[in-house]
């Protein structure tokens, strides 16, 4: 286990003992990137893996928060504990934000076994996905049975919910041409199931039919190089963990709900469970977990290597000074970067050489 500061060790113990305030503080440290947060996460990692993690995404106003509330209520009635992360990436990069998802999550208000946390963008693009994934880990380690992540699935601010969730539900509302455009723009690929919420409205049947057509087009072999759901990692088939790189065995169902009354939400709950069962039975679960770990490792690597490079740059007088030299044609960007990277490269080579020497002995 990683070395924890005394304060973090206490937080860690309290979190595992079921202290909600400790859980909240751990998430704050994760969000703030407070020094020491990585050691905390490193320690928590071993405690994760037992929660079921569902992502709920879709355009603003489709009823995601209301649906999460309704679903949460059902899980609670079944005796399960729930953690919710409501991400609002539409908040501006700088300056403040108003996070309103909690307003819709009132039906279990006062019940501490429902832990709801709101998050804003705070000027971090990739960082928001990372903070979300890390907060899910804290909830998982705490022992929440069900974790639901609500995100807005539109535009470039989109949180890559696929990196965190086992099952992704895409929510649309009836008669929304915009949503259908959104689906065409790629969000169709990430849906393990689709929810037409506000099914009390007129155009429901049409929207359901449109969706089903799109799903079947996507699933049919004539659709060409479909990478399947959860897809751009068109990884080579890997028989070892049963991950074939496409979920041909799963056709996303379309479910109608009225989140405000709870109608259809039991169907949604059943479909979510079906998908999780499918993941286990097909061996896809292991493949997904591995891909998520890959993404996480790559991202941490990029972050840390980027920081290393920034440090080198600072020693050379900072980006502004170096850029001015380039602008004045005193040097060129290629030489600059080569000079910056060279010492890093030789340090890496030296350490690798030392390692292999040690292992030969």
């Amino acid at each position: 286990m990683a070395d924890l500061s005394e304060a973090n060790a206490r937080l860690y113990e309290s979190l595992l003992e079921g202290d909600h305030a400790a859980l909240a503080r751990v998430i704050t440290k994760i969000e703030n990137r407070t020094p020491g947060y990585r050691e905390l996460l490193a320690a928590l990692h071993a405690e994760t893996g037992s929660a079921s993690v569902v992502g709920v995404t879709g355009s603003p106003g489709t009823g995601k928060s209301t649906l999460v509330d309704s679903l949460t209520k059902q899980y609670r009635e079944a005796g399960e504990t729930v953690g919710v992360i409501a991400v609002d990436p539409s908040s501006p990069y700088t300056g403040g934000s108003v996070l309103g998802d909690r307003i819709r999550m009132g039906s279990t208000a006062g019940d501490m076994d429902v832990f709801v946390r709101s998050m804003s963008a705070r000027g971090r693009l990739g960082g928001l996905s990372m903070a979300t994934a890390d907060a899910v880990k804290a909830l998982d380690a705490f022992g929440k049975d069900r974790i639901i992540v609500e995100t807005v699935g539109a535009g470039q601010n989109e949180v890559d919910i696929v990196e965190t969730a086992e099952t992704v539900a895409v929510v649309v509302q009836p008669g929304s041409g915009d949503d259908i455009q959104l689906l065409k723009a790629g969000i169709l690929e990430i849906g393990d199931l689709f929810v037409v919420n506000k099914a009390d409205k007129d155009e429901t049947a049409g929207t359901v039919a449109d969706l089903e057509t799109m799903i079947h087009m996507d699933a049919s072999p004539t659709a060409g190089l479909s990478t399947g759901h959860h897809g751009p990692s068109a990884a080579e088939p890997d028989p070892e963990d049963g991950d074939t790189g496409d979920d041909s065995g799963w056709t996303p169902p379309v479910i109608e709900t009225v989140a405000t009354t709870g109608e259809g939400v039991d169907d949604l709950r059943a479909a979510l469970d079906d998908h999780q069962q499918y993941l286990v039975d097909s061996g896809e679960a292991a493949g997904r977990r591995r891909r998520q770990a890959e993404t996480e490792i790559r991202r941490l690597l990029r972050t840390d290597l980027g920081e290393l490079a920034e440090g080198v740059l600072d020693r050379r007088g900072g980006i502004e000074a170096v850029a001015s030299q380039v602008a004045r044609r005193e040097t060129d960007p290629y030489t600059v970067v080569e000079e910056l990277v060279d010492p890093l490269e030789s340090a890496v080579e030296e350490s690798l050489a030392a390692e292999s020497e040690a292992s030969e002995k």
């Binding site: 305030a21 909240a24 969000e31 990137r33 403040g96």
Partner: protein, 138 residues
Amino acid sequence: MSTDHAQRATRCLVAKVGLDGHDRGAHVIARAFRDAGFEVIYSGLHRAPEEIVQAAVQEDVDVLGISILSGAHNTLIPKVIEGLQSYDAFEDTLILVGGIIPEEDKPQLEEAGVDAIFGPGTSIEATVEFVREHAGSE
């Protein structure tokens, strides 16, 4: 362009307790806090004290702003504070009360743990300034 530098933000819960249906004041404060660069969690109308406690604990806010007009402050506010204490979340939370609080009730609320009371005449700037000065000094 590292993504891993510390990224703090002042988090505020703006809550409205009691049965009166006016949340204009709470809205105004929420927007002013947002414009000041704070992260505001807005919890909607008619919140019972235990709901406010739950939200404040889970969201781990630096500031809890309670808007109250109904006149029930003498019972509701101490309940919220006791709740926060039971979760060990009282010490590090700045507690503000906004609304119509009679002069004679103020000492009692401050005694209970309210950090500041802002009446209808208080300027938004003064409220924001107060938060800037006092919030998040753990």
